[in-house]
């Protein structure tokens, strides 16, 4: 198969699933005729028609609420929130209905909705276009949240999400949309399932946990560290909720040290849960406190300073060295 960008890989997964399953429909702002402002839904309206690739009015709550209804009637809607920073206009539909409908009806209604939303900084965008607030969704019972770290993972995670009987929030690291290409093979070759983390690099000295757009930066840091004789094991979370904490803890029990990377703000961020789980699962082996390499507790600054905001390989490596020297 071809070398694809993440945008192309997501587009491919959507097309394949729509071919496979008539119940899969796409809806959102500019997803149809325009093909999505990032071109993620490019050409889908041509193949599947405007009944299944639906340009909606500009109303996020409407998109989410209608998706909940569609799912209850047997479809598998894949709504797009144009940016995760605008998903808050539909937040109550996600919190109050999407996450709970199965539970509220004791299994009588299913809501297999996959809410796609680009998140994260790094593309020189306007305010609200660079958010990373995955915790809003990981702290919501009844919601699964996944974050691919490259084209291949995006393809297989999205397929898994669409086939999942429950609602999944699909965070797309927009900084990686066109950052690199990967050979995208048949999904059978990729054992990614929701709820499982993957070791992307073996190492013995320290466990480095990352996901999404921070994964390549963590890998880069690991390479730098290796030059200095520190072998970091890099774990790609892929799913944030439910968290594969056992995989992380198992690694830390071997390495004794852990650094977590994310672009979300530090306080009450995803790294807190990971740190807490590592402490719970590897306490006696821990040689140093878990270090969190994150955004600061501020909004992502306008784009001239967004790279200063974002963790980079240098800051990650710095944190790893501090952890080694604890």
């Amino acid at each position: 198969m071809a070398e694809l960008t993440m945008v192309e890989a997501i587009n491919l997964a959507l097309a394949e699933e729509m071919r496979r399953d008539e119940r899969v429909v796409i809806l959102g702002e500019d997803v149809g005729v325009d093909g999505g402002i990032f071109r993620v839904t490019k050409d889908l309206i041509e193949e599947f028609g405007e009944e299944r690739v639906i340009d909606t009015p500009l109303a996020e709550s409407g998109i989410m609420g209608v998706s909940v209804g569609m799912a209850m009637r047997g479809l598998r809607p894949v709504p797009e929130m144009q940016f995760s920073g605008f998903s808050y206009l539909g937040f109550h539909q996600i919190e109050s209905h999407l996450s709970r409908m199965r539970w509220r009806t004791q299994g009588g209604r299913q809501v297999p909705v996959v809410v796609r939303m680009p998140y994260g900084a790094g593309v020189r965008a306007l305010e609200h276009h660079s958010e990373s607030r995955e915790v809003f969704y990981t702290h919501m019972p009844g919601i699964k949240l996944v974050v691919p770290s490259g084209p291949r993972a995006a393809r297989t995670l999205l397929v898994a999400a669409i086939r999942d009987p429950d609602p999944v929030v699909f965070f797309e690291p927009k900084a990686l949309y066109r950052a690199f290409r990967e050979e995208v093979s048949d999904e059978e070759d990729e054992p990614i399932t929701i709820g499982k983390a993957m070791i992307r690099r073996d190492g013995t000295d320290l466990t480095l946990v990352a996901y999404g757009a921070m994964l390549p930066r963590a890998m880069e840091a690991a390479k730098t560290l290796a030059d200095g004789g520190i072998e970091a094991e890099v774990i790609d979370l892929l799913t944030l909720s439910p968290l594969d904490h056992e995989a992380i803890a198992a690694s830390v029990r071997r390495t004794g040290r852990c650094v977590v990377v994310h672009e979300a703000p530090l306080s009450y961020g995803p790294g807190a849960e990971i740190a807490a789980r590592v402490m719970e699962g590897a306490f006696l082996k821990l040689q140093a406190p878990v270090m969190r390499v994150t955004g600061p507790d501020v909004n992502v600054p306008y784009f001239a300073r967004e790279q200063l905001y974002l963790p980079d390989a240098e800051r990650i490596a710095d944190a790893c060295r501090a952890t080694m020297n604890y």
Binding site: S61, V66, G69, A71, R73, R102, R104
Partner: protein, 366 residues
């Protein structure tokens, strides 16, 4: 012409058929088989008696808070009775009378009222949605349901209920707009019962009527006397026909009144006076329909007495069954049911810990 009136559809009608004394404009009375008329009446009475019983159960601590339907029975039964069984009923939280028409079991309602999630269980093939507590948010689901049905090649319509207060929510606006843009066969039934808890209709919005809000979406609106079961039914039938034949939504404003408290947690004397309530009691929807049925010879005193007895027994039996069921529902485990289709390993771990008397958190040694 530099300054001219804009052309758009702005006609909205008001309909009333059965007056406060039980006299109808017979020309406008819809054709309804006698047994259905009586069934409608019985449903209204049952809903009211059910509330009265629930109020006692609530006051004695046996169930929690609930929202009485008292006064709105015609608005609900008049409209829901225009729907087919294969159509969708998308309620808010006060539609007990409509629920009874649709066949919802009083036992389920009581179990829900008693604080058990099991009371909310829905059969997979039922076309009733669960109670929606966040005001104004459920109408979008009705839109999504019928839009999906159409994509699946089915002709189903949905009727969704909400109050006057709900029209202020952004989701009402988005639902009306989506329904119109996508040509969705949804009947929006607004039960304007004059209050959103303590806030009167006049402070909720400044439009002269709620029905006229339909104009904002290019949708047909109509206002009816909501205590007049015939007007409600005729408007609903027209809306259902429009939904089926033209696949277009309708907004129906039923002008009615909540005769009781908002919920059992509410004390209406804080915000309205008895005089106003008394005035509306004169317009009681059950009484006027009963008079009309009597005059027609469809019910009589003895029949009503029997009906009341049956209803009392039915409700009593439902409560007994509910009490018995509750005895079987004491475990901590069900809390974890149906969060997902399959319990995740983490949830299984948390459940096990809680069943052992621990907190769900806790660690595993390394």
């Amino acid at each position: 012409m530099p300054r001219e009136p804009l052309q758009f559809e702005s006609r909205v009608e008001r309909l009333s058929i059965l007056d406060e004394d039980g006299k109808a404009d017979e020309e406008l009375v819809p054709e309804i088989p006698d047994d259905l008329l009586v069934r409608g009446y019985r449903t209204m009475v049952k809903a009211r008696r059910f509330d009265q019983r629930r109020l006692k159960l609530q006051r004695s601590g046996r169930i929690g808070t609930f929202a009485p339907v008292n006064g709105q029975e015609a608005a609900q039964v008049g409209t829901i009775s225009a729907l087919d069984e294969t159509d969708w009923f998308v309620p808010s939280y006060r539609e007990t009378a409509a629920h009874f028409w649709r066949g919802t079991d009083p036992k389920d309602i009581l179990l829900y009222d008693a604080g058990y999630n099991e009371g909310g269980a829905l059969a997979e093939d039922s076309r009733t949605l669960p109670l929606a507590v966040p005001v104004g948010t459920q109408m979008l689901h009705a839109v999504g349901i019928v839009h999906a049905a159409r994509l699946l090649g089915e002709e189903e319509i949905a009727m969704t209920y909400f109050g006057d207060g709900a029209t202020s929510q952004g989701d009402f606006h988005e639902a009306m707009n989506f329904a119109s843009v996508f040509d969705c066969p949804v009947v929006f039934v607004c039960q304007n019962n004059q209050y959103a808890i303590s806030v009167p209709r006049s402070r909720q919005t400044r439009s002269e009527t709620l029905a006229q809000k339909a104009i904002a979406y290019g949708v047909t609106g109509i206002q009816v006397d909501g205590n007049d079961i015939f007007a409600c039914h005729v408007a609903a039938r027209e809306a259902v026909d429009r939904a089926r034949n033209e696949s277009r939504p309708t907004l129906i404003e039923c002008v009615t009144y909540r005769l009781e408290m908002h919920t059992t947690a509410d004390d209406p004397s804080r915000y309205r006076d008895e005089e106003e309530v008394a005035k509306w009691r004169q317009r009681d929807p059950i009484e006027r329909f009963g008079k009309w049925l009597m005059a027609r010879g469809l019910v009589d005193d003895k029949g009503i007495e029997r009906m009341e007895e049956e209803i009392t027994d039915e409700i009593q039996a439902a409560w007994k069954a509910t009490e018995a069921r509750i005895e079987t529902l004491k475990d901590v485990g069900p809390m974890f049911d149906h969060v997902f289709a399959e319990l995740t390993p983490e949830l299984a771990r948390q459940r096990a810990r809680m069943q052992d008397g621990h907190s769900p958190g806790g660690w595993k040694d390394g």
